[in-house]
Amino acid sequence: MQNVDAISTDFIEPKKNYLNNGTTLKSWLLTKDHKRIAIMYLITVSLFFLAGGMYAATIRLELLTPESDLLNTQTYNKVFTTHGVLMIFFFLIPAIPAVLGNFLLPIMIGAKDLALPRINLLSLYIYWLAGLFAIWALLQGGVDTGWTFYVPYSTTFSNTYVMAVGLAVFINGFSSILTGLNFIVTVHTMRAPGMTWFRLPLFVWAHYAVALVMILGTPVIAITVLLLALERFAHIGIFDPAIGGDPILFQHMFWFYSHPAVYIMILPGMGVVSELISNFSRKKIFGYEFIAFSSIAIAVFGFLVWGHHMFVSGQSVYAGMVFSFLTMVVAVPSAIKMFNWTATLYKGSVSFDTPMLYALGFMGLFLIGGLTGLFLGSMGLVVHLTDTYFVVAHFHYVMVGGQVIAYLGGIHYWWPKMTGRMYSEFWGKISAMLVFVGFNLTFFPQFILGYMGMPRRYAAYPPEFQVLNIFSTAGASVLGIGLLLPVIYLIHSLFAGKLAGDNPWMLPGLEWRIPSPPPTENFASTPVVTWEAYEFGEDSGLDLDEARRRDLVTVT
């Protein structure tokens, strides 16, 4: 853990970096620098996460007692809907790609910037616009359709602000489309000489896969929401059964995007974890190609399984069979990743810094999330389990236990690079543990609740379910503390944190070979890559002996 206080202040001469290069508001709002855009994303996304978290807390409090006493049903419906919309569309989907991806992807492939910086800035503004619409809708009185907007309730029966929120989702879609587009172009054209496809860090592979999903999937949700708005506005008779429409069609079009969207959320997380596992066991990742291609495989197969959300919806039994089968197939690439990560630890030199703790937590939680995914892919069981708390628990294990934990791990891992400062390792470890424990306390009871048959989206529930709900709420409070801690000590580190130095952990990735915080154009001159990904040996070009000497100096 000594590796933190690598360089003491007086060795550092003030360098020009992306943070102090222009400090006016204009220099931020009109920047084309991917790093500044990433930072602005970071701030906005965190705010939305905080808001969504508040709603989550409210939900847990309401469910402490069987009756709907804290909130009346009307409010409760709005609260869980808002929680879903904010978290999914404004946190989970942009979080890793738009923050970490934006910041690191160009650096990792040795480029000065993303290929289309203006587009990148545009996507940020679109995201802000969408966010404003969402907030406006909330202030107007919110929406109570559930984040799935199922028709005909959303088109004909809900008297809340469906159109406004729909518009927010519609606009937000284009933000992620543009991000994805940018990533694909960048990975194709901006790689530094010597940075071949199979020297790319797996983080980049994951983001490439995500970008594919974003481009191919997101337009469909856009058009679907558009039709939803038309239906609500003027009764097209496409979704509303009372005038010859078909509600199942909406579910098809909705899930055509929204299932792949799950992979938009989890794939970048997997990318981050691949980085962490390999780097903190200082060992080339096991089965690089397999992990890389499993990402692509997940992205492709992810488009073929949306029907498993509709097993009881009135969809044809035979369609159900096909979807169920393909769902089982998708399980395989995820399994491959799991095994490879585990194998990477073998004969490594594993150090348990905060990011690594998060990575290990991810492996544990994603294991459970993935396996319960099998429960929900098996038709006979799903008939009993869909729309119960089992589903709720499952997707929280994948989304929070997967994406959010990986995101936190990534933030901790690259924080010294982004800010040049090192956070308190002690508090880092504490929060990592709190999150892990609190999370399991919160969501594991919900699996049991689900099998007991407690339906989701219930403001009031039969009393026999109360005990488990109390466990869940108790856990939620622990989880809440665990999630708030980083906010405090990370911000604190900005002012009082030790200077991290360019490469606190002596890691070979390109991002660790440039100053931290990086200069505006990342590289003084375009690097020529001569080493494989995750090359820790002497031929990685890292002066390890110098690092050891340096540590000795600082320790004594």
Partner: protein, 309 residues
């Protein structure tokens, strides 16, 4: 530039027109831009794809209603529009061709031609929409013409079935205004000949199927063809028609704005054999919009037309 490409140092200060800071050289930039544009087109395809899915599902359910609706569209105008759009595609392609040739004047001319044809397309589209408005075929209540009965000769054609008779004789008796379609609602008065045909055929050969399962439920109420229910289905067709062509028209308008910008640039002689990717990109967009129409025309105007001939 060649050695610049080999030794990757950006000490090299020579800056070409429109080379952006993050790129090494023009080649890399053009490559990036064109890939970017194609990715954008891919997402556009999926965007329209949603609508095509809706079309597919509904057509496969109610072919008769769709055929009836599509027979009522003005196929001549649709046909003309297709030609117009193809010509504009040609001129667009030629714009790129002349840009590569450093030929500024021809560029400008071609862009202007493209814009003219694009505008023509929209003009024709306007006339078509206008017709629908006149005939009360816009599927939004209140967005159709509430014409005075005597004011237009095809007013009688657009009377609601049930009110037609008494309305006519009302304004025979005293001269006060009779509004047909007073609330400006969607109304379908052309009947349902195709369904009747199908029923006849069905009676003739009971072994074959002329109506889909959905139609058997969707058009009838207790055994009779229900005009309201049938109108509902035709209305869905017109919704899909307006949604698809409307979205397409929107893309045309964007295209025209793009052209205007391009025209100015070209007029200033910005583009040359070295730097013409903006022209090419706008071209890609324009051709894409053309392709969408190439599919819309048969799907909306032509399919099912043979039933009446």
């Amino acid at each position: 530039m060649a050695d610049h490409a080999t030794t990757y140092s950006d000490k090299f200060v020579y800056h070409e027109p429109g080379l952006q800071h993050q790129f090494e050289d023009m080649k890399q930039q053009e490559e990036s831009v064109s890939i970017g544009m194609w990715m954008f087109l891919v997402q556009e395809i999926m965007f329209f794809g949603g609508l095509f899915t809706v079309y597919l599902v509904f057509r496969s359910r109610f072919p008769m209603a769709f055929a009836t609706g599509s027979n009522h569209l003005n196929v001549v105008m649709g046909f003309a529009n297709t030609l117009v759009l193809i010509v504009s595609s040609l001129t667009m392609a030629l714009t790129v061709y002349y840009a590569q040739r450093n030929n500024r004047n021809m560029q400008v001319i071609m862009i202007i031609l493209t814009m003219i044809f694009g505008a023509t397309f929209l003009g024709v589209k306007y006339v078509e929409y206008r017709e629908k408005y006149e005939d009360g075929l816009v599927p939004v209540a209140g967005w159709n013409r509430r014409a005075k009965a005597e004011s237009s000769e095809h007013a009688t054609a657009t009377f609601p079935l049930e009110t037609r008779a008494q309305a006519q004789e009302e304004h025979k008796t005293e001269g006060e205004h009779v509004y047909n379609n007073p609330r400006g609602e969607f109304q379908w008065n052309e009947g349902h000949h195709l369904v009747d045909e199908a029923l006849k055929e069905q009676a003739a050969h009971p072994d074959r199927h002329y109506l889909t399962e959905y139609e058997k439920v969707g058009y009838f109420s207790n055994g009779q063809v229900d005009d309201l229910k049938f109108q509902e289905k035709v209305r869905s067709f017109f919704w899909i028609y307006f949604a698809m062509t409307g979205l397409h028209a929107l893309h045309m308008i964007v295209g025209l704005l793009l052209m205007t910008w391009l025209l100015i640039k070209a007029f200033q002689g910005t583009f040359s054999a070295q730097y013409y990717s903006p022209v090419e990109m706008s071209g890609l967009y324009w051709h894409f919009v053309d392709i969408v129409w190439i599919f819309l025309f048969p799907l909306l105007y032509l399919l099912g037309r043979h039933f009446i001939h």
